[in-house]
Symmetry: C2
Subunit: 334 residues, 2 copies
């Protein structure tokens, strides 16, 4: 066991999307767990769009990451020491362990214990925050019925690629929007989308109109901005919009403007809801069971984009927002 | 029985809010009911903000009123001839009888039959489209729990004044926004609002913050525009916005812009829904029973602003949008 803990620290409050310069790397002594605490050796660090919000000082659904401290992150790791009777040494956990080699945390930082139902890394994606977000955002707020049309933005991303597959598994017709042609192909060939478009090229709004002449029943939106403006005007009566992210809007410090929506909400009788996965803990195990079952049946694809070495972390969030990843982005530090 | 039927015709497609010049008056022979039809003599013509949408050629939740025909309107009238076994002559009805003295209509144009539970005119307000809108918009989409804060715009209007009273009767704390000081007083003294403000004067946003420091749980919005922009940023987590009207936005022909809302929807986990009362027919009788019960118990106030003579109709919608009415606006033509 090495005697140093390499950490990625948040050294500057990001202006919008966190950039490499907002982070610093250090190496300190491996910490000792206190009473009731555990020491975890991280193996897979998760990279998530939500980290942008966590790093921001703007009012949010979580407290901002303190400046000078390790960047908040989920990770999969192994328990190397436990001072808690609830946690066995040698067990694998998924939890709030931060961008660092080692974490000393209370038991409350454990998100889920890993099982053998899926590969270890999948606990950070398919059965982690991404899979739960995709499943519960779609089923709890989107509530699609079989045969309905489900539009997904960031359709090839860690969440979107699962939303598409879950929608298909539930008997819906998923349509995808993504940012390059290779991802469009991936959406169609690997993620079960009935159709997908590159929103940077061509008239996807017109293509969507042809593909869904009766409108979109559920829009699972990870981007906001002009793509949302267009999709909102393609919704069917009684359609549901799940607001899961706003990745396309670079900054909210000065609130940007867009076309007013209240008349669309009214005349189409839309239901537009904000989704934060941690509000839905009561259904986590149910969702994990269904996702694990689909995985066992070969009805859901594990798609991971794994970098090696903690040095990849500082630039990883900005890379996500540039759309560089193919599937779930992880950093292996084991 | 006079031999002429005076009618208010839509002669020009309104640009935004219907103005007196968009209408013409004529007088024609009283029509004869055909097989299965009934002849109704109108007594009270209803004036409703929704008539703006009905007169518009923009895509909407109803077909536009044909140019040259009588203006679509609800009314309370008496059956003078019936060719339907389902309808007795001499009975009072509330229905789609238009802005005219007489209407020949099929039975399907009847909205509800009048009862003796309330005065005749109240079938066009408290137990009509307005009361059903207030009750079902609040209970079906707003779903307030006792003790919650309910903000209402056009708080002294035909719908708003009922939303306030219903919210109070359900054990909530209603707060009102209205357009002049006399209406503010009426909100506080007659409609049960815990507080009310004139949105045209003073810093109501700051006053609202003081009155509801933990945020607004339900916003029943009839206006849209900048008032909505502010209210949305005062919502509590998991708050519900009921979009019932967009009266403050003069025209949607060029879609106006406003501050983007997707981040607010997401971080506050709002549920923003569009309400059209005709989607909720299954619960009409339940709502009527509760409203009638409250009226009988003296727990709801009938507040009517009745003009005399059909000549008042052409200017009546514009007057509503200028906020001239005190309570439910009706035109007596009996």
């Amino acid at each position: 066991m090495p005697d140093r803990n390499r950490r990625v620290l948040l050294v500057r409050r990001p202006a919008g999307i966190p950039q490499p310069e907002d982070f610093g790397l250090d190496a300190v002594a491996v910490p000792e767990p206190g009473p009731g605490e555990i020491l975890v050796r991280n193996l897979y660090l998760s990279v998530d769009p939500a980290q942008r919000g966590w790093a921001s000082a703007e009012a949010n659904y979580s407290q901002p990451v303190p400046l000078g401290g390790p960047m908040r992150a989920l990770a999969v790791g192994i328990v190397v020491r436990s001072n808690s009777p609830e946690v066995a040494e040698g067990g694998f956990l998924y939890g709030w362990f931060g961008w660092q080699d080692y974490a000393v945390v209370p038991v409350s930082a454990i998100f889920r214990r890993c099982t053998e139902a899926v590969p270890l890394s999948a606990h950070a994606g398919l059965l982690g925050l991404n899979g739960l977000t995709a499943h519960l955002g779609l089923t709890e707020l989107g509530r699609p019925r079989p045969g309905e049309t489900v539009l997904v933005s960031t359709a090839a991303g860690a969440v979107g690629s699962l939303v598409g597959q879950i929608a298909r598994n539930l008997g819906c017709r998923p349509l995808g929007l993504t940012g390059d042609d290779a991802k469009v192909a991936r959406c169609r060939e690997a993620y079960g989308y009935a159709a997908a478009w590159n929103y940077r090229s061509g008239d996807w709004a017109e293509a969507l109109r042809e593909e869904a002449p009766d409108g979109v029943n559920v829009y699972f939106d990870n981007v906001g901005g002009p793509i949302l403006d267009t999709a909102l005007r393609r919704m069917a009566v009684a359609g549901r919009i799940v607001q899961c992210g706003t990745a396309s809007v670079a900054s909210w410090t000065e609130v940007p403007t867009g076309p007013r929506v209240e008349r669309e909400i009214l005349t189409r009788r839309l239901i537009w809801s904000g989704f934060v996965v941690l509000d839905h803990k009561a259904r986590f195990e149910e969702a994990v069971a269904q996702l694990s079952g689909w995985y066992a049946e070969g009805r859901i694809l594990l798609d991971e984009d794994v970098s090696e070495g903690i040095e990849a972390a500082p630039g990883a969030i900005a890379g996500l927002y540039r759309g560089e990843n193919r599937g779930k982005r992880l950093i292996y530090v084991g």
